[in-house]
C-alpha cells in the first residue's frame, strides 16, 4: 500500500524519471518508460563514460569538433552541442538509432575514444529512449547533495572488496540511487582497485587512500583506510597535552601506527628555535643544570624580535613580495616592497589579529611607497592574477581553473572567478592604488562585463564601486569555511613539516585533510582567540605531537602524513644561509643591503644573492607553496661541495675557524665548538675518535688548517645540519 501511494504521489507531481526516484524511506521501482532527464540522467552518464573528461571532449577546444563542458559543468551548453550544433547532425529524429551521439560511443562509426557502450547497455538504452522522446532538455529537479556510502572506511585488512552506493538528494525532497551513473576514480590506482560495473572498491595497500565519486556536478571523496600493521595498538598512555594530541593519537590508533619516542630538551630547543625564529639556538642554555621549561621557552621565542623577523619573512613569502621594474607593466618599486614587508612585521609586533591584517590588505588603497598594504595590488600583473593570489593566500584555494571553466574538482564556478576579478578590475594597478571607475572584467562566457560576486555567494549590485569591503567581511567572518583553516594549516605545516591539507593552497572537497576534525578545532580555536597567530603556534608547539622524535620505529617508518614520528624538515634557503653564516662567522653580501644583514630579514624577495639562488629560494613570481624537495637539486649539492658558498668562507680571516685557531684552541676544542654551534650538541665519542685520525691535539691547530677546514666542510654539508629534525 505504501509503495502504491508513493507511485501515485510521483505520478501526480509529474516527477517520475527514467530511473528509480523515491521519497526518503520509500522504495519505488525503476520506471523505464518515463521521460529521460537530460541533466540528471544523461550528463552524469557522459561523465561516467569519460566523454566530458579533459582528455576527451571536455578539453578546452573539445575533440573532433565536438565540445562538452568539463565534467558536465554546463548541461545546457552540452545539450545545445548535442542537439542543435551543426544543424543537429548528432541526433537523427527520423531514425533515432542512427544518431551520431549513439553510434560514436558504440563505435558503429570511427571513434577516437573507442567503444564505450554496447548496444544493449543501460546507457545506450537511455540515450536511445531520450532521442525517441524528441531529445528534449529536461531538468526535472535540482541536485541538492550526493551521499556516498561508505564515506570513510577502515578495513580490517587489505584486499577486501567494499560495495559503494551513491544516493542523490534533490531539492524537491526526492532521492534516488545513482550508483550506476557515478564515476569512481582512485587517487592512486595502485592503492585502490575500482570495479565500475559492480561499483566496488578494494584497498590493495596499507594506508589512507582516496576515491573520488563524481555524480553530475558533485564530487565526493571517499576515504578508504587499511591499517599499517596487523595488531591493534594502545596509545592511551601517550602524552596528551591538548586537543592536537587527542586527534593525532586517535587516527594513529585507527591505523595501528605506533609512535616514536619524545625528544630530549636539546633536540626540542633546536627544533623550536629554528621553527619560531629561523635561527640556530644560542649557546646560553645549559641543559645539564635543569630541565628545559618548554612553555617558557616557547613564550620567550614568540615574544622575540627574531620571531617577528622570521614570520614577517614567511608572510612576505606568502604574499610574494618582491620588487619588479618593468616600464610596460605593473611596477612594484623596491621601496614599496620593503614598505609592505615592514608593515607586516609591524602587525606581528603589535599582535594584530590575522583577520584584521587580511582586511587591511584586501581593502588597501593609496601610495604603495607610503602605505604598505597597498603594495599588495601591485604584485599581480592583472586582475585575474590578483584573484588567483587572493584566493591562494586567504582561502588556500586554487581558483584559477574557474577562469576558463567551472572548477572540475571543486565548487568554484566561472561566475565566482570572474565576479571576484571584477572587484580587482576596479583598481588602478600602479604605484598609487585607487579606484578605477571604468575598470571592468569581461566574462568569457557572455562577452559582457562580469558582475562582482562573493565566491560561492551573492552577486553585488551592479552599481557597486568597490566590492572589497564586502569581500573582507565575508572572508573574515567566523563562519567563513576557508579563511581560518587556510592559515592554521600553513602554521601547522610550518611547525610539523606537512600540512593537514597538502598542498596548503589546494583546499577542496576532493583533497580532504588527513585530520579533518583537528583542522576544524585549530580553526575554531584560532578564531576564538582573535585570529592570533602566536596562540596557534603555541598550541601546536606545546603538544606532545610536536615533540615526537624524527627517528621512526620499525612499524611507522613508512608514515609520511600521520605524525607518528616527526618529519625532518629541510631548512628553508634563507634559514640555511643564515645558519651557515652563524656557524662560519662570515655573512654573504645580499644586494646592496648593509653587510651582516640576515637573509630572513631581507625585505624584498628580488634582492640579488647568489647564496640564496644556490640554496633554492623561491621565485616569487609564482606560488611558493610547493614543498621543497627532501634532497636538493644536484646543482645545489655540487655548489655546497665544490663552490665558493662554503669553501670561500670556511677558512677566511675573521671567520669562526680562524678566530678559534688564533686564540690557540686545540683541534678537539674546535671540533667541540663547531658541533655545539652547528648541531647544538657535543660530539659523540665515536665522532671524536673518527676525527682523531687526522687531527692531533699535541700539535698547534694552525699547523692543521687543511684537515680542520675539511672537518668544518663535512659538518656543514651533513644532513643533521641542514635539516630541522
Amino acid at each position: 500500500m505504501r509503495k502504491i501511494t508513493a507511485i501515485w504521489i510521483l505520478v501526480a507531481l509529474g516527477m517520475s524519471s527514467g530511473i528509480a526516484v523515491a521519497r526518503a524511506g520509500d522504495d519505488v521501482p525503476e520506471q523505464q518508460s518515463s521521460a529521460v532527464d537530460f541533466k540528471n540522467d544523461l550528463v552524469p552518464m557522459f561523465t561516467r563514460l569519460g566523454c566530458n573528461a579533459g582528455k576527451c571532449h571536455g578539453s578546452a577546444m573539445g575533440r573532433g569538433g565536438f565540445k562538452l563542458s568539463l565534467y558536465g559543468g554546463s548541461p545546457k551548453a552540452d545539450f545545445n552541442q548535442i542537439v542543435h550544433h551543426l544543424g543537429g547532425r548528432r541526433i537523427n529524429f527520423t531514425d533515432p538509432s542512427s544518431s551520431l551521439i549513439l553510434m560514436k560511443p558504440a563505435e558503429l562509426v570511427e571513434h577516437g575514444g573507442g567503444t564505450l557502450i554496447e548496444e544493449d547497455d543501460p546507457a545506450a538504452r537511455s540515450l536511445l529512449r531520450w532521442i525517441e522522446q524528441g531529445a528534449p532538455y529536461l531538468e526535472q529537479r535540482q541536485l541538492d547533495r550526493v551521499v556516498v556510502t561508505p564515506s570513510r572506511l577502515i578495513a580490517s585488512e587489505t584486499g577486501l572488496e567494499t560495495p559503494l552506493r551513491v544516493t542523490a538528494y534533490f531539492d524537491d525532497g526526492l532521492h534516488r540511487d545513482v550508483t550506476h551513473l557515478t564515476q569512481f576514480v582512485a587517487e592512486d590506482s595502485n592503492a585502490i582497485t575500482v570495479d565500475s560495473v559492480r561499483a566496488t572498491a578494494r584497498v590493495e595497500r596499507p594506508g589512507r587512500h582516496l576515491l573520488i565519486a563524481r555524480y553530475s556536478t558533485e564530487v565526493v571523496p571517499v576515504e578508504l583506510i587499511a591499517p599499517m600493521t596487523s595488531r591493534p595498538i594502545d596509545l592511551s598512555l601517550e602524552v596528551r597535552r591538548n586537543y592536537v594530541d587527542d586527534e593525532i593519537l586517535k587516527t594513529l590508533e585507527e591505523l595501528r601506527l605506533p609512535v616514536s619516542t619524545s625528544i630530549d630538551d636539546a633536540t626540542f630547543l633546536r627544533r623550536i628555535t629554528l621553527d619560531l625564529t629561523g635561527r640556530l639556538p644560542s649557546l646560553d642554555a645549559d641543559l645539564t643544570v635543569a630541565p628545559l621549561n618548554r612553555e617558557a621557552l616557547v613564550n620567550d621565542l614568540l615574544a622575540s624580535e627574531a620571531f617577528i623577523a622570521y614570520y614577517a619573512s614567511k608572510l612576505s613569502r606568502l604574499f610574494r613580495i618582491q620588487s619588479k621594474i618593468d616600464k610596460n607593466k605593473v611596477t612594484t618599486t623596491p621601496k614599496a616592497a620593503r614598505n609592505f614587508h615592514d608593515w607586516l612585521a609591524e602587525q606581528l609586533r603589535k599582535g594584530r589579529g590575522y583577520d584584521e591584517l587580511a582586511r587591511r590588505v584586501i581593502t588597501a588603497t593609496g601610495d604603495s611607497e607610503t602605505h604598505g598594504p597597498a603594495t599588495f595590488f601591485t604584485l599581480a600583473e592583472d586582475a585575474r592574477l590578483q584573484t588567483e593570489l587572493v584566493t591562494e593566500i586567504f582561502m588556500g584555494s586554487r581558483m584559477k581553473c574557474a577562469n576558463c571553466h567551472n572548477h572540475p574538482l571543486d565548487q568554484w564556478t566561472q561566475d565566482d572567478f570572474h565576479g571576484l576579478t571584477a572587484m580587482f578590475a576596479k583598481l588602478t594597478r600602479q604605484q598609487v592604488i585607487q579606484l578605477n571607475p571604468i575598470g571592468r572584467n569581461i566574462h568569457p562566457n557572455t562577452g559582457e562585463m562580469a558582475l562582482m560576486k562573493i565566491p560561492g555567494g551573492n552577486f553585488l549590485p551592479r552599481e557597486t564601486r568597490d566590492g572589497r569591503g564586502e569581500l573582507a567581511d565575508w572572508l573574515t567572518s567566523p563562519e567563513n569555511p576557508f579563511f581560518a583553516k587556510a592559515i592554521v594549516n600553513r602554521l601547522w605545516k610550518s611547525l610539523m613539516g606537512r600540512g593537514l591539507v597538502e598542498p596548503v593552497d589546494d583546499f577542496r572537497s576532493t583533497n580532504p585533510a588527513t585530520h579533518p576534525k583537528l583542522l576544524e578545532l585549530l580553526a575554531e580555536d584560532f578564531a576564538d582567540h582573535g585570529y592570533d597567530l602566536r596562540h596557534t603556534l603555541r598550541t601546536i608547539a606545546l603538544s606532545g605531537t610536536y615533540a615526537r622524535s624524527s627517528n621512526p620505529v620499525d612499524e611507522n617508518e613508512s608514515d609520511d602524513r600521520f605524525y607518528s614520528h616527526a618529519f625532518r624538515k629541510p631548512l628553508a634557503p634563507e634559514v640555511l644561509s643564515d645558519a651557515i653564516s652563524d656557524v662560519l662567522g662570515i655573512s654573504p653580501q645580499y644586494g646592496d643591503e648593509v653587510p651582516g644583514t640576515r637573509a630572513v630579514a631581507l625585505r624584498d624577495g628580488a634582492v640579488a644573492s647568489d647564496a640564496l639562488d644556490i640554496l633554492g629560494r623561491c621565485d616569487r613570481s609564482k606560488t611558493c607553496e610547493a614543498a621543497p624537495p627532501s634532497i636538493g637539486p644536484l646543482a645545489q649539492k655540487l655548489h655546497l661541495m665544490n663552490g665558493e658558498l662554503l669553501n670561500g668562507r670556511i677558512g677566511a680571516e675573521g671567520g669562526r675557524l680562524k678566530n678559534l685557531i688564533h686564540s690557540d684552541h686545540t683541534p678537539s676544542e674546535i671540533i667541540d665548538s663547531f658541533y655545539q654551534v652547528a648541531l647544538n650538541r657535543r660530539p659523540r665519542p665515536e665522532e671524536l675518535e673518527f676525527f682523531s685520525q687526522w687531527l692531533d691535539d699535541a700539535r698547534p691547530s694552525s699547523e692543521q688548517m687543511e684537515p680542520l677546514e675539511d672537518f668544518v666542510w663535512g659538518l656543514m654539508t651533513c644532513e643533521e645540519f641542514s635539516v630541522n629534525h
Binding site: 569538433g65 542543435h84 544543424g87 543537429g88 537523427n92 527520423t94
Partner: protein, 325 residues
C-alpha cells in the same frame, strides 16, 4: 551589443505587414520534426524548398502549404542551392562521420541526375560556379569542385584545419570559405591556391553572404559563433567593420546594399545596418534555433526555418532612409 537609436536621417521603417505564415515539416512517430537546415526559393518564386533529415520538401509560397517531398540519398541534409539558370538543384549532406556528398536534381521535375560521394564527412554548403560547376564544402576540411558536364571532380582545395561551414564565389574569380577553425579564407577559384587567411573571428564561422552591391572590391559578411557579423573586402584582406549581436547568428542574407538580416540561435532575426554597424531591428521568428534565412528575390519577404521543422514567413517593408527632421 550594438543596438542604439539611429540618427533621424537614417531612421528606418521596418514594419511587420502581414501575419506570419507558418509551416511544420513532417512529424515522425515520436511527435518530433527534425530541424530544417537550409532553404531556397524556387527560381520562379512560387515555392520554397527546405531540406532536413526528412529529405527535401517543397512548400508553396507564400501560403507555405506542403506540395511534395523528394527523397535524397543522404541521411542528413545540410544545404541546397539552385543553379543560376534555375534548372538544377544541388543538395548537400551526408552520413555524419562516414561520408558526404552532393546530389543534383532537375528542376522543377525533381529527378535525380547525378550524385557525388567524395567527402569523408557531411557536405555543409554548396556554391554554383556558373551552371556547370559546383563547389562543395565539407566537414572533412576539404572543398571539392565538380564539373557537372563531365561528371568529374576537377579540383580539391585543402587548407582549413577543421570542418568548413560556408563557401561563396565572388564575381571576379575568387572564392571565400569559412569554418570551424574560425578562419575566413580566400582562394583562387581556378587554381585552388589559397590567397589569404583572415583570422579575426575568435570562434567558428557559420555563414558567408556576398553583398549584392556592385563595386570594384567585392564585399562579404560573415557570421560566427563569437556572435559577431563581420564585413570584409576579402580580396584585399580588409576587415571593414563588425557588429556583435546578443545571440549567435547561424545564417545571414543581404536585404539590399545596406541592410543584412541574420537568423539566430535564439530563434530571432536581427536586421543590421551595415553602414553604422548597428542592429536596427530584432524580431522573434521561430522557437529554437533558426538555421536558415533567405529573402524572396521579388517581394523581399523573408523565410526563416530551423528547429522542429518550423518555417516562418515574415514580410517586411524594405528598409528605406527617411529624411524628416
Amino acid at each position: 551589443m550594438t543596438h542604439q537609436r539611429l540618427p533621424a536621417s537614417r531612421r528606418l521603417r521596418i514594419v511587420l505587414l502581414s501575419t506570419w505564415a507558418f509551416a511544420l515539416t513532417a512529424v515522425n512517430s515520436w511527435g518530433q520534426s527534425p530541424p530544417i537546415t537550409d532553404l531556397a526559393f524556387s527560381p520562379e518564386g512560387t515555392s520554397i524548398v527546405a531540406c532536413s533529415q526528412d529529405g527535401l520538401q517543397v512548400f508553396s509560397w507564400p501560403a507555405l502549404e506542403k506540395q511534395r517531398s523528394i527523397t535524397v540519398s543522404f541521411r542528413n541534409l545540410h544545404c541546397l542551392a539552385f543553379s543560376n539558370d534555375g534548372q538544377r538543384l544541388a543538395l548537400g549532406g551526408g552520413n555524419p562521420s562516414e561520408n558526404g556528398g552532393v546530389e543534383i536534381f532537375s528542376w522543377p521535375q525533381g529527378k535525380s541526375l547525378m550524385s557525388f560521394l567524395d567527402h569523408e564527412d557531411s557536405v555543409m554548403e554548396i556554391a554554383w560556379s556558373g551552371d556547370q560547376k559546383i563547389v562543395t564544402a565539407g566537414r572533412d576540411r576539404r572543398l571539392i569542385k565538380y564539373d557537372l558536364e563531365t561528371e568529374e571532380r576537377v579540383q580539391t582545395y585543402e587548407g582549413h584545419s577543421r570542418g568548413i561551414n560556408a563557401v561563396s564565389l565572388l564575381p571576379q574569380g575568387a572564392m571565400v570559405t569559412a569554418g570551424h577553425d574560425a578562419s575566413v579564407r580566400v582562394w583562387d577559384d581556378d587554381s585552388g591556391t589559397l590567397l589569404k587567411t583572415l583570422s579575426q573571428h575568435t570562434q567558428p564561422v557559420n555563414a558567408i553572404a556576398v553583398c549584392p552591391a556592385e563595386s570594384a572590391l567585392p564585399m562579404v559578411a560573415t557570421a560566427a559563433k563569437d556572435r559577431t557579423v563581420r564585413f570584409w573586402q576579402p580580396t584585399i584582406g580588409r576587415l571593414m567593420r563588425y557588429v556583435r549581436l546578443e545571440s549567435e547568428p547561424l545564417d545571414i542574407t543581404w536585404l539590399n546594399d545596406s541592410f543584412l538580416v541574420a537568423s539566430c540561435v535564439d530563434g530571432r532575426l536581427r536586421c543590421v545596418d551595415f553602414e553604422n554597424v548597428q542592429v536596427v531591428e530584432i524580431r522573434p521568428a521561430i522557437e529554437g534555433w533558426a538555421y536558415a534565412i533567405t529573402v524572396h528575390p521579388e517581394d523581399g519577404s523573408l523565410a526563416i526555418a530551423g528547429s522542429r521543422g518550423q518555417i516562418r514567413r515574415i514580410t517586411l517593408t524594405l528598409p528605406t532612409t527617411q529624411s524628416n527632421d
